[in-house]
Amino acid sequence: MTRSACRAAAVALSLLLAGCGAAPDPVRPADAGGPVARGDPVARGVGQLRRLVVLPVAYTPGDCEWPDAAPRLDQAAVLFLRDWKGYEVVRPPRADSALRLARDLAEWQRTAGAGASPPAALRNPLTGLARDLAGDGVLLIRAAPACAGTAAKALTAIASVVGSKDATLEAAAFEAGSGAPVWRSAIRPALWEGAQPPSGPSAYAMQRAIEEVFQPMENAVPAVLKPAARQKEHP
C-alpha cells in the first residue's frame, strides 16, 4: 500500500472513530447574570433549581443482564444529589406514568441536538409534573450499558481512548416552567464493560458512575441562602 493510501485509510478510520455516536456538548449552566438568592455570591445555572423532580431511571438493558441496575442507579443518584450537591429530591407519585415520560424523554434526547427543547408532547407533561410537585426542575437519567463481546469491547476501548463519546450514562435537568434543558452530562463509565452487572459489596461501579456523571453539576443554592424562595401550594 502506498503512503497516500495509508493516509487515506488512516483518515477514514479517524472519521469512523470520531463519528461513533458523538454526544452533543453538555448544556452549559448560565454563567452570566447576578446571583438570585440573597447573599449568594455565586452566579448559578442549574444550581438555582433546588427542588428537583427525579424521574425513574430510563434503563435500556440491551444485551446486558443487569436486573437491578435501575434501582441501584436511582439510589446512588438520589443519595449523591441530596447529600453532596444539596438538592431537594422529590419523586413523582405515579411511577408508571413517570417512567413512560422518562423513556420518551430519553428517546427524544438521544437524537436531539445540544440545547434543544423537548417538543410540546413531552414538554407539557414535564412542566405539568414539575408544577404539581412544586419542583424547580425535572431530572432525567438514562442508562444504556453496552455489553458486547470481547473483540467489540476492545474496539470500544480504542474508541474511548481516541475521544469517542458514545455515552452509556446520561443525566439532564430541565427547567420547571419552560421545560428547557439547563444542564446535561454524558459519560461512558469505564467499569461498565462486561456481560455481568458491576458487583461488589457497595455496588461500587454504579455509585462511581453516578458520581462521575453528576460531579460537574454545581451545588444547589444553599437553603440557608434561599429560605422558602419557592413556596408553592402543594396539591
Binding site: 500500500m1 502506498t2 455570591p41 435501575a70 439510589q75 423513556r103 470500544t156 444553599p222
Partner: protein
C-alpha cells in the same frame, strides 16, 4: 505503482474498519421493556450535628450586638474530618502523606511557605506527578491566601446587625474559625474530589454571661443540620480560571456561615 483502490487495502484494514463500525454499537432498542422498581429513599451516611437557637421572649426587645470574628489558624490543606479516619490503613496513608508533604515543604519552600499547613492533598506531588499538579497547587495556595474568609464573614454579619441604640451595651456575637481549608472527600488521589471545609464556633455573651455556644460545621462527613454540602471538586477544577471555583466556594462559605448565625439567633436585632 499502487493506487488507492479498494482492492489494494489489506483485508486486515478492512476488517478493522468493519469492527470499528460494529464497535460503534447497536443503538439500544427503545421498545425494549424497561426495568420497573419502587423508588426508595436511601439512608444518609452524613452525621448531622444539631443546632441550638437563641430565642427571645415576645415581650423583650431584640438584642443589639457587636460582631467579632477570629481565626484560630491559617487555611489548611488536609484531613480535617477525623471521623472518617476509621481504619488503620487510612490513618497510615494520611500520616505517610503528611510526612511526604513535610519533606516536600523543606525541598520547595517557595511553594509551601506561609501559614498553610500541609496534609494529604500533596500526595500527587509525591507520586511523580509534580509537573502536572504543581501549577494547580500554586493557584490553590494563592487563592486560599488571597480570599479572606474571616473578613468576608465579619462584613456579612456587620451588614446584617442592626446598629445598637445609643447608651446601650450590646451583646457580643463572636465566631472563632477553628479550621478552614480543603480536605479530601474520601480517598486521596490526583483526581479525587476535595472539599472546601470550615469548622467554627459561635459564642454569644452579654455582660460577661454566656448565652449560647454552638458549633458551625461544614465538613464533608459531619455537618450542622442547617449546613449545605461543601463544595467539592478536583484540584484541577478548583484551580481553573485562576481559582475561580475555589474563590466562589470560599465566598459562599462566608455567606453560609453568616446566614447560619443569623438564623440561629432570632433574639438578636438584625436589619431584616
Amino acid at each position: 505503482m499502487y493506487t488507492a483502490s479498494g482492492s489494494r487495502i489489506s483485508p486486515a484494514a478492512a476488517l478493522l474498519a468493519c469492527a470499528l463500525l460494529a464497535a460503534c454499537g447497536p443503538r439500544p432498542d427503545p421498545a425494549a421493556p424497561a426495568a420497573t422498581y419502587q423508588p426508595r429513599e436511601p439512608a444518609s451516611e452524613i452525621e448531622r450535628v444539631p443546632a441550638r437557637r437563641l430565642e427571645r421572649a415576645a415581650e423583650l426587645p431584640a438584642l443589639p450586638v457587636s460582631v467579632v470574628v477570629r481565626s484560630a489558624a491559617g487555611p489548611e490543606l488536609g484531613p480535617v474530618d477525623r471521623s472518617r479516619e476509621k481504619t488503620v490503613e487510612e490513618k497510615r496513608t494520611l500520616e505517610g502523606a503528611g510526612a511526604i508533604a513535610t519533606a516536600l515543604a523543606a525541598a520547595a519552600p517557595p511553594l509551601y511557605a506561609g501559614t498553610i499547613a500541609l496534609g494529604s492533598l500533596l500526595v500527587p506531588a509525591a507520586t511523580g506527578l509534580e509537573l502536572y499538579a504543581r501549577r494547580d497547587q500554586n493557584t490553590i495556595v494563592r487563592t486560599l491566601q488571597e480570599v479572606d474568609l474571616p473578613g468576608q464573614l465579619r462584613s456579612a454579619l456587620v451588614r446584617r446587625a442592626a446598629p445598637p441604640p445609643p447608651d446601650t451595651a450590646p451583646a457580643t456575637v463572636a465566631i472563632t474559625i477553628r479550621t478552614f481549608g480543603l480536605a479530601p472527600r474520601s480517598g486521596t488521589c490526583p483526581t479525587c474530589a476535595i472539599c472546601v471545609v470550615a469548622d467554627a464556633e459561635l459564642v454569644v455573651t452579654q455582660d460577661g454571661t454566656e448565652l449560647l455556644r454552638d458549633p458551625l460545621l461544614l465538613t464533608p462527613w459531619r455537618r450542622s443540620v442547617d449546613a449545605p454540602p461543601p463544595v467539592c471538586a478536583t484540584m484541577t477544577e478548583f484551580a481553573e480560571r485562576d481559582g475561580r471555583l475555589l474563590r466562589d466556594a470560599i465566598l459562599e462559605t462566608a455567606q453560609v456561615l453568616a446566614a447560619m448565625t443569623v438564623s440561629r439567633l432570632p433574639a438578636v436585632a438584625w436589619t431584616d
